[in-house]
Amino acid sequence: MYLSELQLHGFKSFANKTAVKFDSGITAVVGPNGCGKSNIVDALRWVLGEQRTSMLRSSAMQNVIFNGTSSKKALGMAEVSLTIENDKAILPVEYTSVTISRRLYRSGESEYLLNGTVCRLRDIIDLFMDTGMGPGAYSVIELKMVEDILSDKNNDRRRLFEEAA
């Protein structure tokens, strides 16, 4: 099972529709400070159902919608779609690939889609049960976590161990 494509439209600095095709091995993402690399990571967390705004560097969920610049107006919706290849039949075997999408409007209304059909977040969570993917699954390693695990201020280490148990 691997990620084949991530599509972003109106998500943070990705005002225009953008498609990132991942290699099944190692894909590097490079570029200057502030160009949008970590925003791609936020998009991945978000489409997999992340609800904690602190994990998305935002104080409110609507902050992930492209909020405009001096030369382009803010957008009304953010949409991210992730396509996963089911090459090892880990997901139900009728799927060769699965596309999950999440949309958020400025009003606060939001939608989840599974292969283009509107569904509930619950359906996506159930589909990825026991695959190691989905909200709360441990798939991102960043320097902030390095510092937290070393300083262990809030017994972070123990908490990480318990989440893995």
């Binding site: 099972m1 691997y2 990620l3 943070k12 600095s13 990705f14 005002a15 225009n16 953008t18 498609a19 990132v20 991942f22 290699d23 099944s24 091995g25 190692i26 894909t27 590097a28 993402v29 490079v30 570029g31 200057p32 502030g34 160009c35 949008g36 690399k37 970590s38 925003n39 791609i40 990571v41 991945l44 610049t69 001096s70 030369s71 382009k72 880990i90 695959t131 190691g132 993917m133 699954a137 441990y138 798939s139 991102v140 390693i141 960043e142 320097l143 976590m145 390095v146 695990i149 070393l150 262990d152 017994n155 280490r157 123990r158 990480l160 161990f161 318990e162 893995a164 148990a165």
Partner: protein, 160 residues
């Protein structure tokens, strides 16, 4: 529950020793210790022991920035391996590492990429050398991100 925590702890400890030895050298020692508090059995802390190459740091605080980062990466991987996701994203964790350690870190990723898909965000040219596919993100138009597929020599222009 305590049983399950114990077995998970042991599994993480095994993984930690294995990953640590891939990132450090053969004569480097590491361990994880569960400090049991007889009066507070639900609240023991996990202690990290890491002693690179003949050094005798009294605790990990004495280690250098790069040594601590490498040790933490080994532990985070060790935890990850208990319930591995099909993919793993690394966001600029190589920033505090010198060239030799970047090489060891990249070799580790290469080794694990047989079973795990990696997405690596980096400013480090040496790390980029180990990746099959390179994407550049630019912001030509103020505040708007744009993606470009990139070959390695172009990447070196892209990161400035």
């Amino acid at each position: 529950a305590h049983q399950r925590f114990s077995s998970t702890f042991n599994e993480i400890r095994e993984n930690f020793k294995k990953v640590f030895s891939m990132l450090f050298r053969e004569d480097d020692f590491c361990d994880l210790i569960l400090e049991e508090h007889p009066d507070d059995p639900l609240n023991h802390k996990v202690e990290i022991i890491a002693k690179p190459r003949g050094k005798r740091p009294t605790n990990i605080e004495q280690l250098s920035g790069g040594e601590k980062t490498l040790t933490a990466i080994a532990l985070l991987f060790a935890i990850y391996l208990v319930k591995p996701s099909p993919f793993c994203i690394l966001d600029e964790v190589d920033a505090p590492l010198d060239d030799a350690n970047v090489g060891r870190f990249a070799n580790l990723i290469k080794e694990f990429s047989k079973n795990t898909q990696f997405i690596v965000i980096t400013h480090n040219k040496k790390t980029m050398d180990y990746c099959e596919v390179l994407y550049g993100v630019t912001m030509q138009e103020t505040g708007i991100s744009k993606l470009v597929g990139v070959k390695l020599d172009t990447a070196e222009n892209l990161v400035s």
